[in-house]
């Protein structure tokens, strides 16, 4: 009985248990309990029952009303101009756009030097750069921007180059106008140890182009932060970066290096003192130089002698504090940082910037986070782990990017000054300005002129980035100098040949002859439109950006060029693969003559070339625009005066933009290409004078560019089956092989 009761009871209990277990969905509950903690993380903001009943944050009508029409815009603008001055300056309130509406638009005037004024080497270079730029004007009435003749670079009162009484002097200028439309260049302000922002005079409404600007005093969209440079910084050209090869993995002895002065007080001293914590002596090194102040030699120790700039090349990342940009010792008027910050990108060492509170140079337009590793000074100890986590791909990209920025904007005083002017110009004409992509992609903003187009696809540089390919048609521009007398002239043959190409969309004849152009009926009938324009007998007119050129590709031709249709077609195909280069037929070469110490030019057959003649060449039409608007009028005048060298100049221009050689394609060899004394009636292009002129041109151009942009190539592009022992029936370009 007891046992039975016991079993019944037990069974009952079990039943209850099981029943509850299944009916209650205990498992589910248990599971829910287990996952509860995670669930809470996923959805903590409640899903309100009355979500649908919540009011909108504003009525539609209110939103569309946009706060109503507001006060009179005209009055508002006037009020602004009086409120937002000095430290609140913006282009809208402190800049007179009306001055920039002249016929020529953006013009820069430089105050003439005054007697007894000492101008430092650096400032002299800045003024020279402005004066040589295409924006320079000598007439203050048509100027949009003014640059002072007084040297304002060094405002450290202890410096020997400090110019006193600037305030009184500028106030005496009739054009000063409280600094409106003025730009003031400055490298150093204040003095050690605090280096305040004080310039020692009232800049008023002038734009400050200053090295190491503090974010607190920086007037966004108004001031321009420029890099600090030494007096030895080249005026033009400038060295290319030191990144010569993209070694993978980057073979550098050190991972991270800091090199700089060790201050005991003053700005940046805390961080300097913390630096020794990350120094591990193996791949992270911190080298502090002793050269500071006047008596550093007294405290000199063994480590000081390691101070050579080769070390930069040994490391992959270089730690930089932006106050370095500031902390140049101006005591003796010499920047004691031979390796200042701006050499770091040149050394292809990736800067690690601890830039709390400093506006980076040209931060308006340059995307620094694509080129440097930015860190927070407060998180210095995290820097090593951050840097170690940077992958191979990113190191490769960062190194190339710093190099690209260096070459595009920093390598010479010319570039620094021009970049400053272009940034201001982009603000003045905001609707015709470069976008961020143009500034940060190759070849850099200085050679991308927004007046040509603001559309990326109109430039030869961005096809791959945009995922598009160049157009399928070209425009032939024929340069005609001799009058039309017979139907058997070479130009007639040329017209036939070119118009037969299926890629030719139109032909433009640039009439540069003494005689007026012949009547339309004199020209042969064409399958493509034929336009005759007047070249005004200027050689440089062949590279004018004629509005009639609608295709991206231009085939530039001399009237006496002998070509085959298949040669044209083949070259056009090649150009489509290299749209940013010149693709042409006859090559020429330059060389350095070590005896005469000048550049030489040769038309001999050589194993390498650096120029292709534009008497027959494909290139992008943008280069017409660059030729006519980027190059200085003096060089174009030289071309017009001598009726020569325009092709060399074009090659200089394109190579300076691309850093690459032109491309020569296969062509049947012709007598024209082999000048010899035996030919009786010498063509003008074969005379010795002509040749000497060209040699002079090469040297003149090289001095304007500040370096030799031409690059040699050792290859020629031929059709795949060119001169192969293969049946001619297989060959697409068999005509090219006929002798």
């Amino acid at each position: 009985m007891q046992a039975r009761k016991k079993y019944v009871l037990l069974g009952l209990c079990t039943c209850c248990w099981l029943l509850l277990f299944y009916w209650g969905g205990l498992q589910e509950r248990l599971l829910a309990l287990l996952t509860r903690r995670r669930g809470e993380v996923v959805r903590p903001w409640p899903d309100w029952l009355d979500r649908a009943l919540l009011p909108g944050y504003a009525e539609n009508a209110e939103l569309q009303n946009g706060g109503g029409p507001g006060e009179s815009p005209r009055q508002r603008r006037q009020a602004w101009a009086s409120i937002y001055k000095n430290s609140h300056c913006r282009m809208d309130t402190c800049f007179d756009f009306g001055r920039c509406r002249g016929r020529d638009g953006f013009r820069v005037y430089v105050y003439p030097p005054e007697k007894g004024d000492r101008v430092s080497e650096s400032y002299r270079k800045i003024l020279a750069s402005v004066a040589e730029s295409r924006y320079y004007t000598s007439d203050p009435r048509e100027a949009c921007l003014f640059v002072l003749g007084i040297d304002t670079l060094d405002r450290d009162q202890l410096s020997t180059q400090f110019v006193p009484n600037v305030d009184e002097r500028i106030r005496g200028y009739p054009l000063w106008n409280d600094g409106r439309n003025h730009v003031i260049f400055n490298l150093y302000s204040g003095t050690w140890p605090n280096y305040t922002e004080d310039l020692g005079f009232n800049v008023g409404q002038a734009i400050l182009a200053k090295a190491s600007l503090n974010t607190e005093h920086f007037r966004p969209g108004f001031d321009v932060s420029i890099p600090l440079f030494s007096k030895d910084h080249p005026q033009k050209g400038g060295e290319r970066g030191w990144l010569l090869r993209n070694t993978v993995p980057p073979r550098r002895k050190y991972l991270l290096m800091f090199k700089g002065k060790r201050y005991l007080t003053g700005i940046g001293s805390d961080t300097r003192n913390a630096l020794h914590h990350i120094h591990n002596g193996k791949d992270i090194v911190s080298l502090t130089t002793c050269k500071h102040g006047k008596d550093w030699e007294k405290h000199k120790d063994a480590r000081c002698d390691h101070d050579n700039q080769d070390l930069w090349e040994l490391c992959r990342f270089c730690l930089q504090q932006s106050s370095d940009l500031h902390a140049a010792d101006a005591n003796n008027g010499v920047c004691l940082f031979p390796v200042s910050f701006w050499h770091v990108p040149q050394a292809a060492c990736i800067p690690v910037l601890l830039s709390n509170g400093w506006e980076l140079p040209f931060s308006d337009v340059i995307q620094w986070n694509q080129a440097v590793i930015e860190g927070d000074e407060r998180l210095l100890l995290q820097v090593p782990s951050t840097v170690r986590a940077v992958g191979v791909d990113r190191v490769l990209a960062l190194r190339q990017r710093t190099q690209m920025l260096w070459e595009a904007y920093f390598s010479s005083v010319d570039k620094i000054v021009l970049t400053t002017l272009e940034i201001i110009k982009d603000r003045v004409y905001a609707h015709i300005s470069r976008n961020k992509f143009m500034w940060n992609a190759l070849p850099g903003g200085l050679v991308v002129l927004p007046e040509y187009s603001t559309h990326l696809a109109h430039y030869p540089f961005y096809y791959l980035n945009l995922g598009i390919s160049p157009g399928q048609e070209f425009t032939a521009v024929i340069h005609a100098v001799s009058p039309l007398v017979s139907q058997s002239q070479p130009i007639m043959k040329l017209l036939q040949v070119v118009s037969k190409s299926k890629y030719c969309s139109q032909i433009i004849i640039l009439w540069n002859s003494e005689k007026p152009p012949p009547h339309r009926s004199k020209w042969p009938p064409m399958p493509v439109p034929l336009v005759v324009t007047d070249g005004r007998r200027k050689t440089s007119s062949r590279f004018l950006p004629h509005v009639t050129i609608e295709t991206e590709a231009v085939l530039s031709l001399d009237e006496d060029t002998v070509l085959l249709t298949s040669e044209v077609n083949f070259a056009f195909h090649v150009w489509q693969s290299f749209p940013e280069r010149i693709v042409g037929y006859p090559p020429r070469s330059h060389f350095w003559d070590p005896v005469k110490k000048i550049w030489g030019y040769t038309s001999k057959w050589t194993n390498e070339y650096s120029i292709v003649l534009t008497g027959a060449a494909f290139y992008h039409r943008y280069y017409h625009y660059l030729f006519s608007h980027y190059l200085p009028p003096s060089l174009r005048a030289l071309v017009d005066r001598t009726s020569n060298c325009e092709d060399i100049l074009m090659n200089f221009l394109v190579s300076s933009v691309t850093h690459l050689p032109p491309i020569k394609v296969a062509q049947r060899k012709q007598y024209k290409d082999m000048p010899g004394p035996q030919s009786t009636n010498m063509a003008p292009w074969a005379t010795p004078e002509h040749f000497n002129q060209r040699q002079d041109c090469v040297n003149t151009f090289a001095s304007w560019f500040g370096y030799m942009p031409l690059v040699h190539s050792q290859l020629r592009l031929d059709p795949v089956l060119f001169k192969d022992h293969v049946s001619v029936l297989r060959k697409k370009y068999k005509d090219l092989e006929r002798a």
Partner: protein, 719 residues
């Protein structure tokens, strides 16, 4: 709970009848059962917040259930925002810490209803639908943390989207009462409609200490660059109206003005423009005589004609967005949604998300002063660019304006990018629409460099057991002037390489690497022994290439360091009959691949091949013992967007020892397999990256009528 009470009351009645020896047993048994029942019951009715099914919505509370907090009159008021605040001065970066995911953690305060001492709420609307959406989006994102101690950023649940509905002083007091307020450090406030009549400040007037402000309608004087975030004014219309994307292209109107509150001076100016340019302009205004019941927000009128808003925006190329009393206009969002290019005329306005978005590619910004010139300015923009801007405008809306979620998460991402700048999103990631992202290439070796000749190249010879042939190859290659090092990859695990003394004596270092498995991909491994940028991959039977040919190949590679530079070229063709790709080794006029039996390329591509090859291509190649060269060609063409360079006439690798038939290459099955490879790879890459060209590279004076001895590379072999 009820159930357990019932059972426990029945329990004691049974126990007294038991014998003592059983009593303990039963008591234990019953307590177990009881406990079980109680526990079960508890589970049954325990409130659960995670349940999504409506049966268990006990926790679904109403907004009105949020706890009430009374603000004492004397409660402290924060200071006005400090205009000099920057991330390094007003933001506590230590809270964010270093983490491998480089993500900030965001905490949201639980909802509270703040009232003043007499019980009047601090805001007339309380939590708005938009702010609720924003907070839900943040809490659903991986920025969210519920752990207040781990948070880097704090988002109050006090809704300050619209300043007009706020009591300024009380809201400020409420903010200061937040438990972690700490002078507003690391707090983020979202505000879309700042200021109030009549002069409408451009930033939220609520005193907020150091809190970051994500504001709509900042002017350049109130915006703290690098600290605040400029956000759009959300337009609820975009949720109501579905405007399908319209293909970019010319539209019926050139310029459209749809705003209702334009200042008289500007309206006069616009009307003058309309007079001059006629039909190209459409000037809309409020409808004055709408019949009852029609939503006036959705209609616009011109001379009695009624238009649907915002649909009409899709009919125009450009849409005017003029400032009103406020700088930020909700119209901007509508305009972008319609894929109409906004013409923004609001001096000093900081455009939404301008820190990362390149507005020049999606809009035209014109100074207000230049309104009379608007037509001329817009006419000067090339058609193709207008189309691109239309596409870009729509993409901005879809990615960053579309919903409160998009706005909120974009704001957090921008702050995240500032805190972890080394992991920041790139310009391209922010600005390129998916179409462009898909088709564009960003070449990893983009800098135009012609590397110096001096370090030379490293030859990597893959070999199995053809020792004799290998030695001949080594001897031949060692004659090339620029050879820096020779690396033999010994792919035979069963046999050791010959003794050191047997190897040919050459002038450059020779290294032998033994591999663990006989895999084809071993030839593309980025061995540490390769110290040069340039790699010459070469098979152990390629002895026909002359020293001149190899040296010339290296010179060509120097001019094209981002490409594959090889000898025999191959082509891919589309087989229309079969509807798939076909491999072609016939002597064609075109080239899209070069064989890697002998090819120069950058060592970086070894990295890519070994570690970044998409899909299962690498394993597929190793399994099939074929097509490693096709895979390499795909890889390089895909990442650089460029064709390989074929040098010199070589068409095939023919060696004297080989039989008349070129080994496997002519075998029919082999060809089929290679075609299969192309189809397989194209499907893995999702596109056909190979580029077809018609040229090859020869020395400048190749086959020219010129003395051979004066040529740099006279000895170029044929075919």
């Amino acid at each position: 709970m009820c159930a357990s009470v019932k059972y426990s009351s029945r329990g004691p009645a049974l126990i007294p009848r038991m014998k003592t020896k059983h009593r303990i047993y039963y008591i234990t048994l019953f307590s177990v059962v009881l406990l079980g029942l109680i526990a079960t019951g508890m589970f049954q009715f325990w409130p659960h917040s995670i349940e999504s099914s409506p049966e268990w919505t006990l926790d679904r509370r109403s907004v009105h259930d949020a706890p009430l907090v009374k603000l004492p009159v004397s409660s402290p008021i924060p200071e006005r925002g400090d205009l000099s605040c920057r991330m390094h001065t007003c933001f506590d970066v230590y809270r964010c810490g270093y983490n491998p995911k480089n993500r900030i953690k965001v905490y949201i305060y639980p909802l509270q209803r703040f009232v003043d001492e007499v019980g009047v709420p601090i805001s007339s609307t309380g939590l708005s639908r938009e702010y609720n959406d924003l907070l839900s989006a943040i809490s659903d994102s991986d920025f969210y943390t519920d752990d207040v101690t781990r948070a880097c950023l704090f988002v109050p649940s006090i809704d300050v989207l619209n300043q007009n509905s706020l009591r300024i002083r009380e809201t400020a007091q409420a903010l200061a009462m937040l438990p972690r307020w700490d002078k507003g450090m690391n707090h983020l406030l979202f505000n879309m409609l700042p200021g109030g009549p009549p002069d409408y400040n451009t930033a939220l007037d609520v005193p907020r200490d150091r809190a970051l402000l994500a504001g709509g309608g900042f002017s350049t004087w109130t915006y703290r660059q690098g600290y605040d975030v400029s956000i759009p004014v959300y337009s609820p219309l975009s949720a109501e109206v579905d405007l399908p994307e319209k293909q970019p292209g010319p539209r019926r109107y050139f310029i459209l003005s749809s705003q209702t509150a334009i200042h008289r001076e500007y309206r006069t100016e616009l009307e003058r423009l309309k007079e001059e340019n006629g039909e190209a302009l459409l000037l809309l205004d409020k409808c004055s005589n709408l019949s009852q019941g029609m939503a006036s927000a959705r209609k616009r009128c011109y001379k009695g004609q009624v238009y649907d808003y915002p649909q009409i925006l899709q009919e125009s190329s450009f849409c005017v967005v003029l400032r009103g009393a406020r700088l930020g206009q909700a119209t901007l969002s509508d305009v972008l949604q319609a894929g109409c290019v906004p013409v923004i005329m609001a001096d000093s306005y900081i455009l939404p998300f301008s820190e990362v978005l390149d507005w020049k590619r999606a809009s035209v910004v014109i100074p207000e002063e230049k309104l009379p010139e608007m037509y001329t300015i817009l006419k000067s923009i090339p058609h193709r660019q207008v189309e691109e801007m239309q596409r870009q405008a729509r993409w901005f809306w879809e990615a960053y304006f579309r919903s409160m979620k998009a706005i909120g998460l974009t704001t957090l991402q921008i702050i995240n990018d500032r805190i972890y700048p080394y992991a920041a999103r790139t310009y391209e990631e922010w600005n390129n629409p998916p179409v462009v992202k898909w088709s564009s290439v960003s070449n990893p070796l983009f800098l135009p460099l012609i590397p110096p000749r001096s370090p030379g190249f490293t030859a990597v010879v893959l070999t199995y057991d053809r020792v004799e042939s290998l030695f001949r190859v080594i001897t031949e290659i060692s004659k090339v002037p620029s050879l820096a090092k020779l690396l033999v990859v010994w792919n035979n695990q069963n046999k050791s390489p010959p003794e050191e003394s047997l190897w040919p004596k050459i002038a450059v270092p020779l290294r032998v690497v033994r591999t663990k498995e006989n895999k084809l991909s071993n030839r593309f491994f980025p061995f540490d022994e390769i110290e040069t940028e340039a790699v010459l991959a070469i098979d152990d039977d390629i002895i026909m290439l002359t020293s001149d040919e190899l040296q010339f190949g290296y010179e060509v590679w120097r001019e094209f360091p981002d490409r594959l530079v090889g000898y025999p070229g191959r082509l891919h063709l589309w087989d229309h009959e079969m509807g798939k790709w076909k491999y072609e080794s016939e002597w064609t006029n075109e080239v899209s691949m070069v064989l890697t039996g002998a090819a120069f390329y950058h060592k970086y591509f070894n990295y890519l091949y070994t570690y970044k090859m998409p899909g299962d291509i690498k394993n597929w190649v190793d399994a099939h013992m074929n097509c490693e060269d096709i895979a390499m060609n795909f890889l390089v063409a895909n990442i650089t967007g460029k064709a390989p360079i074929k040098v010199t006439p070589r068409k095939k690798f023919k060696c004297p020892e080989c039989t008349a038939i070129d080994g496997l290459s002519l075998d029919q099955t082999h060809m089929v397999e290679r075609s299969e490879c192309i189809n397989k790879f194209a499907s893995v890459f999702g596109t056909m990256p190979l580029k077809v060209v018609e040229h090859r590279a020869d020395p400048v004076l190749y086959k020219d009528d010129f003395p051979e001895k004066l040529k740099s590379f006279p000895n170029i072999g044929s075919l």
